[in-house]
């Protein structure tokens, strides 16, 4: 494999290579995709992240042309393909279980797309196999390959036809944890080096964070947020995104009043302040507060003016090696989670502690 290439300069904002506009799809009267907009720039690796049943695989199949949209438009490279059948879209798919042809050997699997299009095969198949380091396996039966090798063949088969767009449906889910990480790095490097526009579909947030320049968090047929991994993690746009990506402390409360640049919220643990959003919640309105657990620390010294502090009793202390999770005793659906670096041994379950975090790190959502 080549040395790690630099990520593409464009992270969104460039010319839209893939443009999904107001696309809808229903199955038996049930809306699976609901007037959805989505786009990707040329050479960008993006992810569709969401729980099973959120519509991410349906969206992938719509883009591939394996199902047809009820409404809306899908364009690739500026050309509308909404009514183009799958075999004329030039969109390759790496399927979840790779869907290699069991009656063909590795070489013929990779050559399939070239043969189907009546293109010359020449050295292309060998080049594609060399690219995924499977050159030595060309004459093997696909059933004789391991999961990782099958995935490499599936990638070679998808790339040899020089697709305008590559779609990957949970490509790493069939691999064990260690191999998964290796393959993620390998595939990402390969796609970057060849400036291939790719859409990953995954339910695994780590995978999405690892491979993509932007992540679309999907829920119930809609995209809740489409942002770079850092922004998505630091500024989740909705409670769903907050919950689905990463861990969080979340507290339900009621807005009290505005206090300069901050809003005061009444919670079961005391008053908490959050930066004032564009449209401040009305007084008494129910709100949700979120905080990333590593932003929270144990209070020792005096309170700083831009800090939130709450006193809690620790329900559990989980030492996880590189970090320790402190779980506070929480009300109802709330969750009080504080992450400390290393193996914190100074606190034990049952201890009364004070959690503190900056007002600026407090996320506020209307409920």
């Amino acid at each position: 494999m080549q040395p790690a290439a630099a990520p593409p300069a464009q992270v969104g904002g460039g010319a839209r290579h893939l443009d999904v506009a107001a696309v809808s799809k229903s199955y038996r009267g049930q809306k699976v995709i609901d007037r959805l907009d989505f786009e990707a720039s040329r050479g960008e690796l993006v992810s569709l992240l969401g729980p099973s049943g959120c519509g991410k695989t349906t969206l992938l199949r719509l883009i591939a042309g394996l199902v047809s949209a009820d409404g809306g438009d899908i364009a690739i490279g500026g050309r509308s393909v909404t009514r183009t059948p799958a075999h004329r879209r030039n969109v390759s798919v790496v399927f979840q279980n790779y869907a290699l042809f069991p009656h063909l050997n590795v070489r013929d699997n990779v050559a399939f797309g070239l043969r189907a299009r009546g293109r010359e095969i020449g050295a292309r198949v060998d080049d594609a196999l060399a690219l995924v380091r499977m050159g030595a396996f060309a004459d093997r039966a696909v059933a004789a390959l391991s999961g990782g090798q099958q995935q490499r063949v599936a990638v070679a088969r998808a790339l040899v036809v020089e697709p305008d767009l590559l779609l990957l449906d949970e490509p790493f889910s069939a691999l064990d944890r260690k191999l998964r990480e290796t393959m993620q790095v390998e595939l990402k490097t390969l796609l970057w080096a060849r400036a291939i526009t790719a859409v990953f579909v995954t339910h695994d947030q780590d995978e999405a964070l690892a491979v993509s320049s932007r992540i679309a968090v999907m829920n119930a047929g809609r995209i809740e947020q489409y942002a770079a991994p850092g922004a998505l993690y630091d500024r989740p746009a909705t409670p769903f995104a907050l919950d689905f990506v990463g861990l969080s402390t979340r507290i339900a409360g009621r807005a009290r009043r505005r206090d300069g640049e901050a809003v005061e919220i009444e919670t079961p643990y005391g008053i908490v302040r959050a930066p004032r959003p564009g449209t401040a919640p009305a007084e008494g309105a129910p709100v949700l507060i979120g905080v990333r657990p590593e932003r929270i620390a144990l209070a020792d010294a005096e309170a700083a003016p831009d800090e939130n502090r709450i006193a809690v009793r620790l329900a559990d202390v989980m030492a996880l090696g590189s970090r320790t999770h402190l779980h506070g005793a929480a009300e109802a659906d709330d969750r009080l989670l504080c992450e400390l670096p290393g193996m914190a041994q100074t606190v034990a379950p049952g201890a009364e502690v004070t959690l503190r975090w900056r007002v600026a790190d407090t996320l506020l959502y209307p409920l």
Partner: protein, 277 residues
């Protein structure tokens, strides 16, 4: 004997039953066909059988009818099996029931029903004349065509079910993968779906051919004495001619055809799967 081999003992009652009531009588029959007038080992009966042009004609007709029946059944069964494997819910149940239900109606009942349909003053001729397509009734009963149509009807489920069994194992992702690689419907069918379902086609064809080669009731009722098949010839040898050796000889020939079909189809199936599980 380890546990896996001991489990094979469960097959013993069935095997013994088959040995006593199938293999033994068949062996006796075979021996009968291999004896000459003095009782010595000889192929004389076979030489005599093949010397008679009438017998050769019957053998050829039997093979031809079986082959054409298999082809017709395959043409009807493959799309049906495809539909069956893709359909869901009540549609699938309906097709399955439509396939299996006719098996519960005896062949004799069907054959008599067809004679009503096919005869000179039957439903088909009546309809064709009524529409002005033909002036005089065409002869359908007692023709080879009627026999092939009838036989394909009876044996259709035996063709559909093996193909369906293989087709339902075929992951729908494979034709989809082919489509995303640029393969149109024809390329997908001939390079993916058909090769991967060929084992089912071979099994179904072997079933249908074996059943058609040895069918007796259907030709007896549809074409009668006019166009005999091997099975009818066997029955005639035993029942009317009282020539047991001729009957035994033809039975042995029929058995050889059946063995050839079984061996040939397993060889073919092994070739197309290329050692795949």
């Amino acid at each position: 004997m380890n546990a896996e081999n001991r489990i094979a003992l469960l097959a013993a009652p069935g095997l013994l039953y088959l040995a006593a009531l199938y293999a033994l009588p068949l062996a006796l029959l075979l021996t009968e066909s291999l004896r000459d007038a003095e009782g010595a080992l000889s192929l004389a009966a076979y030489v005599e059988f093949f010397a008679d042009p009438f017998n050769r004609g019957v053998l050829w007709r039997t093979l031809r009818v079986a082959a054409l029946t298999t082809l017709l059944a395959l043409a009807l069964a493959y799309p049906t099996a495809l539909a069956l494997s893709r359909a869901r819910g009540w549609a699938q149940t309906a097709i399955l029931v439509a396939m299996v239900l006719p098996l519960s109606v005896g062949v004799i009942v069907k054959a008599f029903a067809w004679s009503i349909l096919f005869r000179a003053n039957g439903a088909i001729n009546g309809a064709l004349m009524g529409l002005g397509v033909i002036d005089a009734p065409i002869r359908m009963l007692f023709t080879e065509t009627a026999l092939i149509i009838g036989a394909a009807n009876v044996f259709l489920p035996f063709m559909v079910l093996p193909i369906y069994a293989v087709m339902r194992q075929l992951s729908p992702a494979l034709p989809e993968a082919a489509a995303t690689l640029g393969a149109g419907p024809f390329f997908r069918f001939f390079r993916v779906t058909l090769p991967l379902t060929l084992p089912g086609v071979i099994a179904g064809a072997a079933f249908t051919f074996s059943l058609s080669v040895s069918m007796y009731v259907i030709p007896s009722l549809i074409v009668g004495e006019r166009q005999q098949t091997l099975s009818m010839l066997i029955a005639r040898s035993f029942l009317f001619l009282r020539d047991e050796q001729l009957g035994a000889t033809i039975s042995a020939i029929l058995l050889l055809i059946a063995i050839a079909v079984v061996l040939g189809s397993s060889w073919l199936a092994a070739r197309v799967t290329g050692g795949r599980p």
